[in-house]
């Protein structure tokens, strides 16, 4: 196969980024084509490469980049079914996001730099996906980190965006440091940074410290893929523009961690302990984030927590030793979560607020954004995992993998013995995934019902003249005390969204609805991957779907009772008497379902506050100490030298009287002294 095509895939968006950045300011008309075309072309090229490669093939090419003391660093390319599949997903989502951004950020003066960063980010993700060398992969990994930092901080005028971008950067870097050491250790043990060599070494059992390596790598994965305990950056990252959330924080960057584990799964299979750690991490992440999502008031934060939870599913599939299921869920989740975020962007532009309780008070919201209403519904059904949408098949694949692992016959598809996966890991994943399916259905239903179907909003017909509330009052409209990531948006809520914001939704809705079918027959998607089975098994399908339906019904019932309580005018839950007015007005099924858990869940169970006490405050105190040492101790010495020189100068001036005879006397005394010293 011609090597130029796969090389062009990461290079084109990078060149596009450079071009957008250099000419964007001078020729604003060129910025949009320069943003869209390279990304779209490399998306097409990724598809072409995938088609040329075909199923069951892999391609490796490498050239030595630099010799080092130890293993060489090479510019290596590794293409197989996994990289093909994910690169096509990245190309599709990135193109949709670029097109969508042209309309979403139409009036933004910093659009060129934004588009350039999105392009650069896409290039970095392609690099991660295609790289056959761990060091080169790390380069892409870090470029994504820095692009994410800049994009979250796009609205740097706001305090939230600034602190969120810093938080995202620091938390992911906190994971990246152990990750770097894990790569070094892996390279040192395997004698090479090439992924193929590393995997060969892992298969031959030549790795000396598999558990240590796996745990170090897991720290980086937890940071990048927002797994507990490093998940806290993702909900706050919603302060960035919505397309960025769609691209980075749902479909691609957070998937990089999962992709890496999938690539290096044979290494992880060497260590049962690491798999159990991964399973526990995934379980805590899944359940915790689903409960948090049920209590959030900010539309984007609900989606963010749901992303965290779905990434937990993928991590759980990996912990069960089935990377096919993980990547299957990754791709289907990438499509439907990007769709959900883009639809959320349309809704946010129309409603001029992120708060679902505020949306519920806007009359006729769903009639104003019919495309977003329908596509969001499709995305949420996929998220819940109802057949025949893609989320059903991929979630069932995860559940099936966990079930097999729990039975001690993990679907490792020849990457390692089935016994390599501890049954405990399978059980942990299975139970938590089932529970999360229930919670996911509940929060998806709550989101949809509260945002679009509240009695106040639904009763009114779509008004001819949309009331244009001034931005300040709407922003202040969200429920008091709820974490909120406001976004500056200049769009006029009265005008309908442009086509560039509408058709990417439907483009993404196609895979959301149809992609799941690809896993049914073993010669379709599984042939591209490891050749295992992705067909849902009957037991888990019934359990999973049943739980999802129960969750939906519970949320609906709670919503109905809350709505009727509200309409009869009674106070809501006892103990909420002192709550702000907004809390009482909105019928929130989450409050009924979660009961006393609601408050903690809304604040993310205080993990942020805990980290604040554990890490932020000591660091601030240390910074205070350093400041004290600098200003009071070091600076005292500096100032002391000045004062000392001054005093010395004053003393010397005393001797300079101008009387030549005094000088001569001193001279004579000196001569005599020297003479005496020499003589004696």
């Amino acid at each position: 196969m011609n090597l130029a095509l796969p090389v062009l895939v990461p290079v084109l968006p990078a060149l596009g980024a450079a071009a957008t950045l250099s000419v964007g300011r001078k020729a604003p008309g060129l910025a949009r084509p320069l943003a869209i075309v390279p990304v779209a072309v490399s998306g097409v090229l990724a598809l072409v490469v995938a088609l040329q490669l075909g199923t069951g093939q892999s391609l490796d090419a490498a050239t030595r980049l630099t010799p080092t003391g130890g293993p060489d660093i090479g510019l290596a390319l590794h293409l197989d079914g996994y990289s093909s599949l994910i690169s096509v997903l990245v190309g599709l989502v990135a193109t949709c996001v670029q097109v969508y951004s042209t309309a979403y950020l139409k009036k933004d003066p910093r659009y060129p730099s934004y588009a350039a960063l999105v392009s650069l980010f896409t290039a970095a993700m392609f690099l991660v996906v295609y790289s056959g060398d761990l060091i080169v992969l790390l380069v892409g990994w870090e470029v994504m980190g820095i692009c994410s930092y800049f994009l979250i901080g796009h609205h740097w005028e706001t305090e939230d965006a600034r602190s969120a971008s810093l938080k995202a950067f620091l938390v992911t870097k906190l994971g990246d440091v152990p990750f770097l050491f894990g790569i070094f250790l892996l390279g040192a043990d395997a004698g090479s940074f090439r992924i193929t060599d590393v995997l060969a070494a892992a298969t031959d059992g030549r790795l000396g410290h598999p558990t240590l390596i796996a745990l170090l790598l897991l720290a980086g994965v937890a940071g990048k893929s927002a797994q507990f305990p490093l998940h806290t950056w993702l909900p706050d990252a919603m302060a960035g523009p919505t397309p960025v959330s769609a691209l980075i924080h749902a479909a691609t960057m957070v998937a990089a961690g999962i992709y890496l584990v999938a690539r290096l799964l044979p290494v992880f299979l060497l260590s049962g302990a690491a798999l159990v750690v991964l399973a526990v991490m995934a379980a805590v992440t899944m359940i915790g984030s689903a409960v948090c999502a049920l209590a959030q008031d900010d539309l984007k934060r609900v989606l963010a927590y749901s992303t965290v939870g779905q990434l937990g599913y993928m991590a759980g599939a990996l912990a069960s030793g089935d990377r096919e299921a993980a990547v299957f869920h990754l791709v289907s989740h990438g499509a439907f979560k990007a769709l959900l975020f883009l639809a959320a962007g349309v809704v946010i532009h129309a409603a001029h607020t992120n708060s679902i309780s505020a949306m519920s008070r806007i009359p006729g919201l769903r009639k104003r954004v019919p495309d977003a209403y329908w596509t969001m519904g499709i995305g949420l059904v996929a998220l819940v995992g109802l057949p025949p949408f893609s989320g059903f098949f991929s979630k069932e694949a995860v559940l099936t993998a966990a079930e097999h692992a729990a039975d001690g016959e993990a679907l490792t598809n020849g990457l390692g013995p089935s016994s390599a996966v501890p049954e405990a890991a399978g059980w942990i994943v299975l139970v938590s995934a089932a529970l999360t399916a229930l919670l996911t259905a509940a929060y998806a239903a709550r989101l949809f019902l509260v945002a679009f179907h509240s009695p106040t909003g639904a009763a009114a017909k779509a008004p001819e003249v949309v009331p244009a509330p001034d931005a300040a009052s709407v922003v202040a409209d969200h429920e008091a005390g709820a974490p909120y990531s406001p976004e500056l948006d200049e769009a006029d809520p009265a005008s309908p969204e442009p086509p560039a914001m509408r058709w990417p939704l439907w483009v993404l809705a196609v895979p959301t609805m149809g992609f799941g079918i690809a896993g049914v027959r073993s010669d379709w998607l599984p042939a591209l991957l490891d050749g295992g089975s992705l067909r849902p098994s009957a037991v888990t399908a019934v359990i999973g779907t049943g739980l999802a339906v129960i969750g939906l019904l519970a949320a609906y019932g709670a919503w109905r009772s809350a709505t009727s309580r509200q309409s009869t005018g009674r106070a809501t839950v006892p103990g909420q008497a002192g709550a702000p007015v907004a809390d009482v007005v909105v019928a929130d099924p989450g409050r009924t379902l979660l009961g006393p858990l609601f408050g903690p869940a809304r604040r993310g169970f205080g993990v942020d506050r805990l980290y604040h006490v554990l890490f932020v405050r000591p660091v601030t105190a240390a910074a205070g100490l350093v400041r004290f040492l600098d200003r009071e101790v070091v600076e005292t010495y500096v100032r002391g030298t000045g004062v000392g020189a001054n005093l010395l100068g004053r003393a010397v001036r005393l001797a300079q009287t101008g009387n030549a005879q005094t000088y001569l006397s001193a001279l004579l005394a000196g001569v005599v002294l020297l003479a005496v010293l020499v003589a004696v």
């Binding site: 005393l654 009287t657 101008g658 009387n659 005879q661 001569l664 004579l668």
Partner: protein, 123 residues
């Protein structure tokens, strides 16, 4: 003749010269005291030249040299004294202290501005 006589004489002359240089106020007398010191050295040079029986008579040659030097020096010195007298109306050496650096209280150099700059840098 024993060496001690000229050497002691030279030492006395030199001592008188030093006293004159350090203690006399009149600049002309200070110059004369310098001459005394130079001549004490000349005396020493000649005495040691004879005492050491130097065939090249380096001491005597150096003495001639010193005498020439002293002549030039006194010429310059008297000229300076003359100018000083013309300018100041006095030849008192302890009143010609214009080149001295009288000790005056040091001005504290603008600490407020410096502090402000530091504050900016710290912030």
């Amino acid at each position: 003749m024993h060496l001690a006589y000229p050497v002691v004489l030279a030492a006395l002359l030199f001592g008188v010269g030093v006293y004159g240089v350090l203690a006399r106020r009149n600049a002309v007398l200070v110059l004369m005291s310098v001459e005394l010191m130079l001549n004490a050295v000349n005396l020493d040079l000649v005495a040691f030249d004879t005492w050491l029986h130097d065939s090249l008579h380096a001491g005597q040659a150096l003495t001639l040299f010193t005498i020439t030097l002293a002549a030039a020096e006194i010429g310059l010195g008297l000229a300076i004294v003359l100018l000083l007298f013309r300018a100041r109306g006095t030849a008192d050496i302890d009143r010609a202290t214009a080149l001295g650096d009288p000790a005056e209280p040091l001005a504290e150099e603008a600490p407020a501005g410096a502090e402000a700059l530091k504050g900016q840098a710290a912030a």
